[in-house]
Amino acid sequence: MIAAALPILYPRELLRSFGVLPVELWGPPGTKTAIADRWLQAYTCSIIRGGLAFLAGGGQDHADIILVPHGCDSLQGLGSVLLDFPVLSKPALSFYHPRTRSRASVDYLEAEIESLAEELQKITGREATDALEATIREEEADSVLAKLLAGRLQVALSCRDYYRLVRCREYLPAEQFTALARPWLSSESGPSSAMPVLLSGVVPEPSGLLDALNEAGAVVVADDTIACGRRLTPEGRDQSAYRRMAERMASAPPCPTRGASVEERSRHLLDLAKRSGAKAVVFAVVKFCEPELFQLPLLKTALERAGLRTTILEVDVTEPLPQQLKTRMEALLETMS
């Protein structure tokens, strides 16, 4: 079975233990969103509108389940509309990630995972099998992904191709992703750049953004996007599968969609920049994305105070990169060269 999974964080391993493969929808790029106008106002972000338009326009035929985790007010609205109105023909599921980090949050997450398991059982008509093994497979895949993201300069690919590889994690089974990505960890001669950039924001889209960076001589050397770097969940320790899934999710890198403060995020970004040698931060922010937009003024100030250059590009993931944003990015890179 296939679950069309909307952003952001959910227990992949749980779905796999029910024989369900999550395939994620971040846009998708190029989707015509007009069909979503029937259910969503124009002031919802392009990830939500694109996701719904893609599913309603026929994409749902390839899925058995629609999973809408609760990552923000807009995902909340979309999930609720899909649960309560006959918009799509496939069953919808939701999942609430707590906004605080404490023992009580991990307890809550564990119970929420159990509730999701009950729902999956009803839909799939089967019990979860080998949940702990499935968890360990996801941990391996995340560990390979973490190394891939940390060792960007050892990977001899353009930024577009590099992210094509990284983002296979969004739809391949964990074991296939691990097998595909692992060989890249041992390659030794990647791109060198006088302009190393940290990419933050929501998702590395539109892909024209990556091309524009490379054309200007810059390379993304570190990632803090919601879709990639901010979902690197570490290994858990508990031997009970659901507790371990909860532990993992609760330890993901700081993201406002899980309640992280500006201070936590700026510390994390400065650390990423230091480790990767990034000299500038490009925020690829999706228009109308409140969790990102709220923190940007303070983040920008903190990063610039530490000597990093920054730029904010407000994008629509379903549209190509506008020339004006390309120019803005080039202007930033010129100041670095």
Binding site: R38, W39, L40, Q41, S80, D84, R99, P291, F294
Partner: protein, 441 residues
């Protein structure tokens, strides 16, 4: 807390301030009584309790003005569990209500621009922009807001407040207490109730430290009882909109809502609403409506358009249309029977998980359908609020269902609760005209 601060507080609030406000109220009451005739062509005269409302709100902000140095201050979200704070004598300030005051007084746009100049996107909630802009510019129409000693953010209205309060925490450098209330797509699961209760319990020692005193459970029970009594009275007040003609409009409710949000848990709030209810009952007894000629009745969904409340009220009144109920003001009424003073913390966890904004779009549709029947309305106005996504997403399928299942026409009005730049008077007027024509007025 300094002796000088306390003295200033005592004099400014309890002696000079109260006397001045009381004098002002008596003057207004006298003016209302002596006014020969109320001259509005379509609206009946305002409620006699109105000067008392003004006095209550002014006193609240006056207390705030002198609070620093005399009392601990918390800035809180509108859905935050306030009872523990009140029982600890911590003074609450509601940035959302302050935002609404700025909207009504037409200063919000200026503050929003300040926030935008500092990098806060125009796509963010206009309450948040108003508040941040007011802080950055140091301007407010209420004189002065006290600095917070602590921030309390409850996510039961939206996630937006969490990001907004993080900005405030950064700016003021004070602790932020988060009460995270998982969104209820369906019935509340027991683990969500337990999670919320746990957080409320964890917040108590933090607040006790700030307040410099221990929480008295007897006092908490009393405050919770006052909260429940006020919510019950508010419920009966909004339900009086059921009468024909309705003695109150949703526009009146928007204004009279302030005490139930800001001053729950106090005897004076209960007394105020008891007087208001008595007056409404008297009006009902006399067959006196809020409109002189009520011809059609509508339900309102979402926040008010604060900077156009009067304009919209007049426009509808001219056509004999009374806005008799709203999902927004109903939100502080519908949970009254869940509040249990004998189990303050348990009931607190349940109550604060269940506001309409923390429940699914289907639940809101059902609420609207119930209200359509109960208030016997002829149509629904859905305010599609550009910068309040949690309230607005879902209105499009809701509108379809209202027409097809509830059999009432529903109009979507594109606007914003606090930012006049997202409002086109001409467009709204044209759409309303066409809608009212369908209703036959």
């Amino acid at each position: 807390m300094s002796a000088a601060g306390r003295l200033r507080y005592l004099f400014g609030v309890h002696i000079a301030g109260r006397a001045a406000l009381r004098f002002e109220r008596l003057r207004s009451e006298h003016k209302m009584r002596s006014r020969e005739s109320w001259r509005h062509r379509h609206l009946e005269r305002p409620l006699d309790v109105s000067p008392r409302l003004k006095e209550l709100i002014s006193r609240h902000y006056l207390t705030g003005r002198y609070a620093n140095g005399a009392r601990k201050v918390a800035w809180v979200t509108s859905g935050a569990p306030i009872e523990v704070l009140t029982a600890l004598n911590i003074f609450p300030i509601y940035p959302e209500n302050h935002g609404a005051v700025c909207g009504i007084r037409r200063t919000a746009e200026e503050y929003c621009k300040h926030a935008e100049a500092a990098g806060y996107s125009r796509d963010l909630c206009s309450y948040a922009r108003t508040d941040i802009g007011s802080i950055l510019s140091g301007k407010t129409p209420v004189g002065r807001l006290p600095r917070p000693d602590v921030l309390i953010c409850c996510t039961n209205i939206c996630q937006t407040v969490l990001y907004w309060y993080q900005v405030l925490a950064h700016h003021f450098g004070v602790p932020l207490v988060i009460i995270d209330t998982p969104f209820l797509y369906r019935e509340a699961p027991s683990h969500a109730v337990a999670f919320v209760k746990n957080q409320i319990e964890d917040s108590i020692p933090v607040l006790e430290r700030i307040a410099g005193r221990s929480l008295s459970h007897g006092r908490l029970r009393d405050v919770t009882r006052m909260s429940r009594d006020a919510c019950e009275l508010w419920l009966r007040i909004v339900e009086s909109g059921r009468m024909k003609p309705s003695p109150i409009t949703a526009f009146d409710q928007f204004i009279h809502l302030a005490p139930i949000v800001e001053m729950r848990g106090h005897r004076y709030t209960v007394d105020y609403y008891a007087s208001m209810l008595r007056e409404l009952n008297t009006r009902v007894g006399r067959g006196m409506g809020a409109l002189k000629d009520e011809r059609k009745r509508l339900l309102w969904d979402n926040l008010p358009i604060w900077f156009r409340v009067r304009w919209l009220g007049d426009l509808l009144a001219e056509r004999g249309v009374s806005l008799v109920a709203s999902t927004y003001t109903n939100a502080w009424a519908e949970l009254a029977d869940m509040i249990d003073p004998e189990r303050p913390l348990d009931s607190c966890a349940s109550v604060y998980l269940h506001p309409i904004l923390n429940r699914g779009t289907g639940h809101k549709l059902e609420t609207m359908k119930r209200m359509i029947d109960y208030y016997e309305v002829d149509g629904v106005l859905l305010h599609s609020d550009r910068s309040c996504k949690p309230y607005s997403i879902g209105q499009l399928p809701q509108r379809e269902s209202l027409s097809s299942e509830a059999g009432v026409p529903a109009l979507l009005i594109e606007a914003d609760h606090n930012d006049p730049r997202s409002f086109s008077e001409e467009q709204v007027r044209n759409r309303l005209d066409a809608f009212l024509e369908v209703l036959g007025v």
